[in-house]
Symmetry: C2
Subunit: 329 residues, 2 copies
Amino acid sequence: MVEPALRARVGGMHAWPAEMAGYAFGWCEQGGEPRAGSSGKGVRQALAVLCAEAAGAPAEAAVDGAMAVELVHTFSLLHDDIMDGDETRRQRPAAWKAYGTGPAVLAGDALFALAFEVLAGSPGPHGGAAVRRLSRDMADLVDGQAEDLLFEERPWTGPGAVEVGAYLRMAEHKTGALLGCAAALGALLAGAPAATVDALATAGRQLGVAFQAVDDVLGLWGDPVVTGKPVHGDLRRRKKTLPVLAALAAGVPASRRLAALLSGAGPLEEAALREAAGLVEEAGGRAAAMAEADARLDRARACLRGVPLAPEPAGRLLALLPYVVGRAG
Amino acid sequence: MVEPALRARVGGMHAWPAEMAGYAFGWCEQGGEPRAGSSGKGVRQALAVLCAEAAGAPAEAAVDGAMAVELVHTFSLLHDDIMDGDETRRQRPAAWKAYGTGPAVLAGDALFALAFEVLAGSPGPHGGAAVRRLSRDMADLVDGQAEDLLFEERPWTGPGAVEVGAYLRMAEHKTGALLGCAAALGALLAGAPAATVDALATAGRQLGVAFQAVDDVLGLWGDPVVTGKPVHGDLRRRKKTLPVLAALAAGVPASRRLAALLSGAGPLEEAALREAAGLVEEAGGRAAAMAEADARLDRARACLRGVPLAPEPAGRLLALLPYVVGRAG
């Protein structure tokens, strides 16, 4: 229901940013040739639609919100890959590698503008509140991305080191804001009372942190065929992620050996990467990240159970949570 | 009235994008040190405020609109300098040269989000219409930037060459959309009737094309001390601008010599640049661009005179037009 509307709106853009956007959505190859297969799990749109239904509205009420959140998600992928220097995404060249940095900036801008156009043009009485929500959550998203980029410059240990708490606050913005926005827009457009909107938004943010924690684990130990990312890629780039920060904070001997390895000059070779990953695991970093994910999922569940929701969609919403973070039993 | 509010809003952003934004606004040096002197002519905010007053509202009604349009203007400078590869702006390194490409993308995104946040949070009954206007005009801005970038790949003559009409449509989007948005937001927030909003928006767009035409002339013959751009800079980069396209379309002998010069391989040296500029002038390109600017100013004046406006602010609005394009007597 969301994807046809989304394709129609993106197709209405200028042909060049529309092609780049289609590439970033996974709908087409470079050159515009249609591409079969999945274009992501669609969890943001599912979250928006289920939150509208849980608030007692038909799914249709959430379509504009679901589109807006998919648009800003793809906007953020386009721009974040530039900022992070990520050259591949879903086993293809990132859009900025395929089309150039400037054009990829432009395509992101086009999607950002379209997201606001979709929401601002949404019929019904809740479009204004939805636009306010989207703009605030986008400000949080930018804050989170800023923090994440600044983390790169900071030391692994000692004064100025990134603490686990600071990392989690960053993730709540960088990753949580989008999922929180998806949930909030669904509820808002359904006309839900403020307490329900807040609870669903908070659940979405917690879900986002859980997702980030698991994604960080996959960035270290995930199967490249599944994740589309190189094995140990986050370690090679010395990216500050939750398992590593938790391992460093554990204060065990492996923590100190890990810090020495990461603080060393020069690139980390294969053997060093394997050793570092082993030390993260030995110091409990992997377990800590997974425990954080589970705790955040519990918090999200508690948020959903704390407000009156329509039982059937609420049940599907509860089932969606572990699926989003890849923790489905 | 607008600038203190604007500085307060930008100051409320994350400190890092806030510093980059302050640099792009011309408020501070790299590192955050305050910077004395002008931060641009402020024509967009003046246009928004005068349009509100011309529509019978106090200047205060336009402040949120004026802020939004200054924010998206600086957003577009930040991102366009990346896309266009422009390394200097106002005699300083462009933000992406000073802070890096990724951070400059981020700072632009922060300002874009803030513009929508400011408008969406605007009290009164017209915030929703203002957000719709901003989002549509931003889509036009992106379209114009896309066209401008695509022009670079196209030949100077023959099939696929950029026609003057296509250039003017691009300018109406790339430059006109922002000034049209400034005028429209002022009128909208003042509660003006639709016909007045449309007339003022059209006047703003025409003003934008006039500005672009004069800016193109300055890009060829302007004093680098005044323009902050290198002399013949647009020609050196073989940028398709109105005087050059008009000169090529004139079909005189100088047109053909100019086409041969521009189509040649290798960089254009100083002597070739001087010759090309001379040929543009000889073929009437400079005069054509200035005539286009004057014709667009006349159209803008006609728009203003076609709707009922408060006489005193309307008079100041008419006086602002030639000032914006540097055509003040």
